[in-house]
């Protein structure tokens, strides 16, 4: 019998600690499938963030290191500069990448570090129980915005793809979602491209993935997927923000 579907070799057979309906599992699997398809598992080094995905090193079947909160792009730089032939990627949430690690992501991008960044945007801090993130929407209720995010007091949602698109070192930026089968396929295509860019040594690539977070959002899984489609994309429109396809 021909096997047509199986667990990717790059994904360990273990139980995830994620909440029911969480998007992380889908994104982890996409990365694992891409690593298998591009045959890079044995030369990939991943960087797990501080946040819900910190346990990613238990889930992927390749080398993974942790990094301090916000610092994965600096750690990735330190790895890639001494091992330029390896595939180095960071996996970061919105608190990690867009709040405490804003300097690191902007400068790694601006230097055109030849790394891949998977940026998971769930519009909240998940692991700490659901505080306001830099990407929290205006009016969105969180533990630290109990009356809804107020632009006067809390500022505006930070749009990372738009922000990074002006930087010359960046070759590829796309915002996708994992809230529908169609978007999952698009996300896989984008992540594959972001890794292919690194194999081709062309420069910094980032894929921002809007990811459902039912427990923190106080919604059911189906409702969460719909919320991304109906509400979140108004602030964070999906699409390609930069693709220079530059190859050196």
């Amino acid at each position: 019998m021909k096997k047509i579907f199986s667990r990717p070799e790059s994904l360990k057979e273990t139980q995830h600690l994620y909440c029911p309906g969480c998007g992380h599992g889908i994104i982890h699997r996409i990365i694992a499938e891409v690593a298998d398809e591009l045959n890079i598992r044995e030369k990939t080094i991943g960087i797990a963030p501080v946040g819900c995905a910190v346990f990613a090193y238990d889930y992927w079947n390749f080398d993974v290191t942790e990094a301090a909160h916000g610092r994965p792009p600096a750690v990735a730089t330190g790895i890639k500069r001494v091992l330029p032939n390896r595939i180095v990627f960071t996996y970061q949430g919105d608190g990690d990448l867009a709040a405490i690690g804003t300097a690191e992501i902007i400068h790694a991008a601006n230097r055109g570090e030849k790394i891949t960044v998977i940026f998971v945007n769930n519009a909240a801090y998940g692991m700490t129980g659901g505080q306001m993130a830099p990407t929290t929407l205006i009016g969105q209720k969180t533990l630290t915005t109990p009356f809804g995010r107020n632009a006067e007091r809390d500022g505006y949602p930070l749009k990372i793809c738009e922000l990074l698109s002006s930087l010359e070192g960046v070759v590829f930026l796309e915002r996708t979602g994992v809230n529908s089968p169609e978007n999952v396929l698009k996300t896989k295509k984008a992540i594959k491209k972001a890794f292919q860019n690194q194999i081709g040594n062309s420069g910094f690539s980032l894929v921002e993935v809007l990811s459902q977070c039912p427990v923190i959002w106080r919604m059911g899984p189906v409702e969460s997927c719909k919320w991304i489609e109906k509400v979140m994309v108004k602030t964070f429109p999906l699409g390609v923000f930069k693709d220079t396809n530059r190859h050196e």
Partner: protein, 375 residues
Amino acid sequence: MKRTQRAKRTKRTKPAQRILMKGNVAICEGAITAGCQAYYGYPITPQNEIPAYLAKRMVELGRVFLQAESELAAINMVFGSAVAGARAMTSSSSPGISLKQEGISYLAGCELPAVIVNVQRGGPGLGNISGSQGDYFQATRGGGHGDYKNIVLTPYSVQEMYDLTILAFDLADKYRNPVIVLADGVLGQMLEPVTPSTISHQPIAISKDWALDGCKGREPRKIRSLLMAEGALEEHNWKLNEKYSKIKKNEVRYETYNLMDAEIVLVAFGIAARVGKGAMNIARGKGYKVGLIRPITLWPFPEKIISDTAERLHSITQSLNHLTTFLVVEMNLGQMLEDVKLAVSGKVPVEFYGRPGGGLVTQEEILEKIKQISK
């Protein structure tokens, strides 16, 4: 003058050439000799010669030089290169070293080798750019969060800026631990002749069978300090403690001068020891029985030589009824003083002369203090 123990230096096979060098440059040459593969820096006075010099030399040698966007980024780039198994270094001065503390704690927790150079300036806050020794506590107590230790080497000459930087890389790899070279702005800016290694330094051969370089032909590895399983973190900390005990047993380094008949024993490190040595020599000429203990490792601290000396001073006082005392000299308000007092353990008095950030101790001042004590 008697030297009981010296910093281990690379063996030389032929008469060595002496080169006039600035302290900060000696650190760079030491790092290059030690096989440093990656350096990450950020400007701050008085260590700016280090990134400027390495920007040229590392690139010429085909190694990695990068000016980071911040000290935080620099120490985390060091973390990344250490994860990948490379010898990596960063340098800064006091305020910048404060910013690196989070990264140093992660290096310690993840058991990653790294060399961090602190060319100290005066604090607190921005302080000023003149040399100081105000970061003794920060370096020797860990500095960041958690229960960890840095190995701390402290040079007192430009030659030692070179030698101890080489040693720092070897110790970092040997123990998988961050090593701090605690220098100061005076040493950094000072010009002195240096005898570099005339044979190429052989980095100690240690297999980095923990490094991440892609899992080709082996099981995947992970590097982490997060240990959530029941009992796992405590077990990890006990394991670190075992390593620290081994370092304390094996790596204590110091020099002693004129201890044999000394009744006043100076304890000083770095530039204060350099000045203290001069003061000791002048005092000897005037008939004062002064000796000097100069710690080269601040952690592990050379407590045994100090407690042994305290015993001896105590017995002199007992048998001859002579006044004996330690005199700790530092360019701070008394930080190493606490470690000396712990080692002396009340057996004899411990006097202190120090000047905090912005002040430089002089031979005359130390001499005056010696005279005052002897009255």
